[in-house]
Symmetry: C2
Subunit: 419 residues, 2 copies
């Protein structure tokens, strides 16, 4: 360990305390929660101590800006500090802290050499997780023009609080843009590092994952409509039970997986809401989300067709109506090959074992790669445990990731991918 | 229609307006809601105008007392005015209003004749529905000593509001007892009328249902425990999905029905809560309620055994834990035969078609019958629609029910079942 590694680990230890769940190794730091606000305030101070200027844009994205060359474009790097409820401390947060330290190191080098051509910026994207406010990747979606600012700000959490009000309560909503528009600032390139949230790198002995594509996915929001009835006295044949229909979909989604080769399809239902949700009333309405994910777009299409046949059978047999109220899909989505190659070269230089890897989960870089040259990196997750208090990454891997990202940011600041 | 019937229908029309759901025929008047409070205040005035004294006990039960013979025991009759969310306007509310008018009529007769031997009382039991505060039949359970007052008052709704606070906000919590204890007042007998919440009476042309027993039931609260995981990237074989386990139980409960003769088993799951209920997290915990109901205790036992085999299979195959966190069961539970016979005689006198009928749903009379001579009556429900905005009972049946209940209260006041 160098003194730079020690400095990273010291800040990382403090960083992990915000929203810590007592008696566990994890955190509960949902977007624009009090813990998110406290961590943002601490992080702003850390950046300012290192000479960065901190600004928030109107979507609540938090930026640390270091202008070395007035008017030059910025190399941007970051991730997100918000978490799922009762989640691990690495997801997103590691990427933000690694980005900050990578920038600190490269900034010091550039200040010493005096030959900077780009500026540096760190970003903490607002609401990547999408647990409190949907959709996920909200901040980077607004930043890249994929989501309207007004729609994002008007989004409400389950208690009816809007994004705008939640950000205002923390004084974390800026007034306009930080990049683009009238600011004159430009992003030249983007880099992000994240824990893998899978176990293949650990099993294969890979320290640096060179992310080359995102899995294809099809996400559905379903509304199942039945009719309220007394759950005791109503004859079974008179019932139109929305919760029964929804339960059949949840089971069907799991069984879909077995129609394909192992590892070719992941399905899930993580959210399901019942109305009126009373012990003695047959439910009249259930809303649920079902995701299909695969490295193959063809598997997604076949799985969708099979799910559709199940839906029609459930509608007929259980006399409920099943509508898709929203859906969102994407094909297998590659990261730019030049970024993968750049990351491979840096790993080789540092003698870190690396390999190409796909991401199943979405990341803010999924948005950014469509607008600027982008590098996406993974470090291993022990046993692939993710969105869980017990998520863990070894300290040596955390340190290796910061060193690698520093190499990437250095090259980007030298004009790699953009010059 | 007599002028007495007209008076009942006029009050009934006003009564149905409290908590009315705009654009529907139904109501939303959960226990200790603002609408419940407004209706209670109106009802208190109505009773007082007819010479009754209104008192609430410490559990929020609302009583109208008419002392005709100082120190004599009371004939009590009533039901409940609270509703499920978005429910019909007849369930419970009809019974309270029918009871009030039955007492008004018998009181007038007894005042005229001057030969009263019992006093009369009307009751609006607190929280029969159990949708906002569990368990159901809360007020009558405290009244009959089956539930501790302190436990009832400390019960919270999903927002954390206690029964005590909710009642206090409406000024509907009394300070002590209205009957028993130091009051010196005694209940001699009890009568209740309710809509059937089934369709057998309508189909069989029966106007007055002579309720002779409650179905046997076994109610379970289950907790399914899995492990939080990323719903995209976690390998399917690594998941321990609590919502999948719960969905399998919901489906299994429905399929249980087909193992028995038609009509011999009703099963339901009306309430299911998911944690963390986030679109991208495999659920770690789901709580759900499953009910088994049957006219036969043996069917309940066999169904329970079958459900237990399913639970063991789901635990093994889906690697989740399924615990029973609460359960509550009762055998087929008869109403006193003397009360059934009394009700039959009154129907005969009035030339109203009557027949014995079982109740699948629980009622406050289920509690009362264990402490005093009790009569339980039904009027028909069109198509058996219940716990639904479209619940309906024909006006002629409402009127017939009031006339019949009046006959029952008259006989009880003459000492039937108690003298």
């Amino acid at each position: 360990m160098t003194h730079l590694d020690d400095a990273f680990l010291a800040d990382w230890a403090v960083h992990s305390r915000f929203g810590a769940v007592p008696g566990t190794n994890g955190v509960d730091r949902q977007a624009a929660s009090a813990a998110d606000g406290e961590q943002r305030a601490w992080f702003a101070k850390l950046l300012e101590q290192r000479g960065f200027t901190v600004e928030r844009d109107a979507a609540g994205n938090q930026f640390g800006l270091l202008e070395l060359v007035p008017g030059a474009p910025y190399v941007l790097t970051g991730s997100h500090m918000d978490s799922q409820p009762t989640a691990g401390r690495f997801d997103g947060a590691y990427g933000v802290m690694a980005s900050a330290h990578a920038c600190f190191r490269v900034a010091e080098e550039l200040r010493a050499s005096g030959d900077a051509t780009y500026n540096l910026a760190v970003v903490n994207w607002f609401n990547e997780e999408g647990s409190r406010f949907k959709p996920s990747m909200m901040g980077s979606s607004v930043f890249t023009g994929k989501l309207e600012l007004e729609a994002a700000l008007a989004t409400t959490d389950p208690r009816g609080i809007t994004v705008a009000d939640a950000l205002d309560a923390l004084r974390e909503r800026g007034e306009g843009d930080v990049f683009g528009g009238e600011t004159g600032r430009e992003v030249a390139s983007y880099a992000e590092i994240h824990v893998q949230q899978g176990r293949s790198m650990e099993e294969d002995g890979v320290t640096i994952g060179l992310v080359d594509a995102t899995w294809a996915a099809h996400k559905f929001e379903f509304r199942v409509t039945g009719a309220q009835a007394h759950s005791g006295s109503t004859l079974m044949e008179d019932r139109r039970d929305a919760l029964l229909g929804a339960a059949r979909l949840v089971v069907a989604a799991r069984e879909l997986v077995d129609e394909f080769e192992p590892g070719q399809l992941h399905t899930a239902c993580g959210e399901l809401n019942v109305y009126p949700n009373s012990p003695v009333v047959v439910a009249s309405e259930v809303e649920l989300l079902i995701d299909l994910r695969s490295p193959s777009a063809e598997v997604i299409r076949d799985a969708h067709a099979s799910l559709q046949r199940t839906i029609e059978r459930v509608e007929r047999e259980d006399r409920v109506r099943i509508e898709v109220t929203a859906e969102h899909s994407w094909d297998r989505n590659p990261y730019p090959e030049a970024g993968v190659e750049l990351a491979r070269e840096v790993a080789e230089e540092l003698s870190l074992p690396s390999d190409r890897v796909m991401t199943v989960a979405g990341h803010d870089s999924t948005n950014m790669k469509d607008t600027v040259p982008t590098v996406m990196l993974f470090v291993p997750s022990v046993a692939g445990i993710s969105h869980n208090l017990d998520e863990f990454t070894e300290e040596s891997d955390l340190v290796a990731g910061v060193n690698h990202l520093t190499g990437v940011v250095r090259r980007l600041a030298e004009g790699a991918l953009t010059a």
